[in-house]
């Protein structure tokens, strides 16, 4: 699954650690989401969308299966 988390975070000038703190997850988890190595659960995806004030589908795009 592709996502725009890194772009959105960099637009706001946040570090991975700062985003992790706001989402109440570890920096490793933010890094794994940004690099596409881990797809977040639905509740975490909703938290990310709410934080960036975007819809989930505008941040996360399904990858090729």
């Amino acid at each position: 699954m592709k996502n725009q988390v890194r772009e959105l975070r960099e637009q706001r000038g946040w570090s991975q650690g700062e985003l992790a703190e706001q989402l109440d997850v570890s920096r490793q988890t933010v890094n794994a989401i940004e690099t596409g190595k881990y797809d977040p659960s639905l509740p975490l995806a909703f938290r990310i969308a709410k934080l960036f004030r975007h819809s989930i589908e505008s941040i996360f795009e399904p990858g090729k299966d």
Binding site: V25, S26, T29, K37, Y38
Partner: protein, 201 residues
């Protein structure tokens, strides 16, 4: 529950395990020579508190983790459970067939927890690396420090074997392991320093 950083967690685990090794080598053997049953039991169970503390730290770490951390913990615990099960059934069959003596059977039981911890930590580290954990290595205790701790543990074992048993082969093996761990610590410390310098440049 207050979430411990990975570094704080690892430091506490290592200190507890170091205490466990010291108690196991120096206090536990006193159980054999103690006369009173209560004293014998107290000496025999002396290594248990640090182990219980480590289990509590592990539970705290899992419960305080986010969803990805809990997934990697689950992978680590699953692999460790499988490894310990195989170890348990193999040593159980061998003990039942009297392939080993009673001393060896008891020693096999003592090694269950260390085996579980080592396999759990290795499998979890592997799983975390697959999720890109390697990109955040500065959150962990450096490999140099880990090998330094292990060198100290093996040096303590060497001292114990030499002091209690006077076993030249056992002492040599433990000293060799301690030197190997120390050499690894120096290697990783130099590598880490070079990486930091090249990152600054």
């Amino acid at each position: 529950m207050v979430r411990l950083s990975q570094q704080a967690h690892q430091r506490r685990v290592m200190i507890a395990m170091a205490i466990y090794v010291v108690v196991f080598l120096w206090v536990w053997p006193l159980a054999r020579s103690a006369d009173a049953l209560w004293l014998k039991a107290a000496y025999a169970l002396a290594p248990v508190p640090p182990v219980v503390y480590v289990i509590w730290l592990m539970a705290r770490r899992v419960l305080g983790g986010d969803e990805l951390e809990q997934r990697t913990h689950l992978i680590g615990l699953g692999v460790a459970a499988a490894a310990v099960s195989v170890y348990g059934i193999v040593s159980g069959f061998l003990a039942s067939a009297h392939v080993f003596g009673a001393e060896w059977s008891a020693a096999a039981l003592v090694w269950i927890f260390p085996l579980l911890v080592v396999v759990y930590a290795s499998a979890r580290a592997y799983a975390a690396r697959r999720y890109g954990g390697g990109a955040c290595e500065e959150d962990d205790i450096s490999r140099a420090t880990r090998f330094l701790y292990l060198a100290v543990v093996f040096a303590a074992i060497a001292a114990y074997v030499y002091w209690r048993k006077g076993d030249a082969d056992g002492t040599g093996l433990a000293v060799g392991m301690a030197v190997g761990m120390l050499a690894s610590a120096v290697f990783f410390a130099i590598r880490q320093r070079r990486r930091r310098r090249s990152a600054q440049e």
